[in-house]
Amino acid sequence: MNTTSTHFVPPRRFEVYEPLNQIGMWEESFKNNGGMYTPGSIIIPTNEKPDSLSEDTSHGTEGTPHKFDQEASTSRHPDKIQRRLAQNREAARKSRLRKKAYVQQLETSRLKLIHLEQELDHARQQGFYVGNGVDSNALCFSDNMSSGIVAFEMEYGHWVEEQNRQISELRTVLHGQVSDIELRSLVENAMKHYFQLFRMKSAAAKIDVFYVMSGMWKTSAERFFLWIGGFRPSELLKVLLPHFDPLTDQQLLDVCNLRQSCQQAEDALSQGMEKLQHTLAESVAAGKLCEGSYIPQMTCAMERLEALVSFVNQADHLRHETLQQMHRILTTRQAARGLLALGEYFQRLRALSSSWAARQREPT
């Protein structure tokens, strides 16, 4: 029974299988209708090779024979033994071919992975956002990341791509002639895009507030400026102010008042955060720090930590309101210039992170 075709169960997705899956994959191809198989022999799947099985009478007309029946029948019929041996040889040959195909696939995946890593590295050098903000050579994912956080990181990657696209569009449009109506819709989209990020962060904070607080998804230079899980609104206003010129007197007054209000709100939240740190430290350190058991302290500290989520949300609320107020104070054109400036500012910070990481890696 010689067949020229190789058949193996094609994987559903192009990815590397774990050993368990691999065994399962091979096993699947051996199980067939009714799951009949005798210990010590392998049956070829009936649905795949109709011609080679026409002589095999153990399937088909007789239905599903018991394994007891099969053992009894082979001892009485030597030609059935021969047939079974031939089937075994055939099945073993097919298994070898499947294994070979699988190994080839693994090799291809490995090469593709190396290629992807190189591409990512290259993209990082260019200052594009890549990966999880960890400026390292290889793809690396923290073992402790929950699936919700992994999902957030992927979503954030898409968010940055869309951000870059929007910034390019604003840049192109502002260098040419553009109607206020078109500009207004671009401004609205840009604002909505930021608001979407705040929503994403809020969901992520519920899963892992420390992750959001530490700005783990951001690049290193962005993290340097971190204030409660994001940018500091008053600082941003300072950076963007020159880009709104010319401002009317009323606008200038409004912007200055906004900046002052931001600073006061930020100070209040910062002091609240300090108090939270203080009370948390108190909770953790309560009792004697030599006991070796500290469950009550952990319980109390966990309660305190719940407040951290509220702070992160408040900080994002502040960012949200700052953007809203700027939108109210400025004309459409000024807002567009401001959003372009804001976007490019963050792009530059990301590029700085990559450049710095590349410099660190160079041998001295």
């Binding site: 906004l258 931001c262 209040a268 609240g272 108090k275 702070f311 408040q314 309101e321 700052t322």
Partner: protein
């Protein structure tokens, strides 16, 4: 709830807080920076704490505290105070 009505209708700024609430502390700091002396009611030291909490939630403050009242009227919680302040409407409200 009568007690809440009574306490909140005191003149000026009235804030319901809890001693363990750091966000309440942040709101107090903000008013202090605006040179306003709010009346603070720390409800966790009050025997009717539970009822007061429920009343504040019913009035619209999801977390009960902080709950800010100005001249007897509910302004809201932290979010509302921050929004008002950034829009420039808080100061005229507390210092008419």
């Amino acid at each position: 709830m009568d007690k809440v009505m009574r306490m909140s209708s005191e003149k000026g700024v009235v804030i319901f807080t809890k001693s363990s609430c750091c966000l309440c502390y942040a709101v107090q700091i903000l008013f202090r920076d605006l040179r306003v002396q709010p009346t603070i009611h720390e409800i966790d030291n009050d025997p009717d704490c539970r009822e007061i909490e429920k009343a504040l939630v019913r009035l619209g403050c999801a977390n009960a505290v902080p709950a800010v009242f100005v001249s007897g009227k509910l302004v809201g919680s932290t979010n509302d105070v921050m929004s008002l302040h950034l829009s420039g409407s808080l100061v005229p409200l507390i210092k008419p």
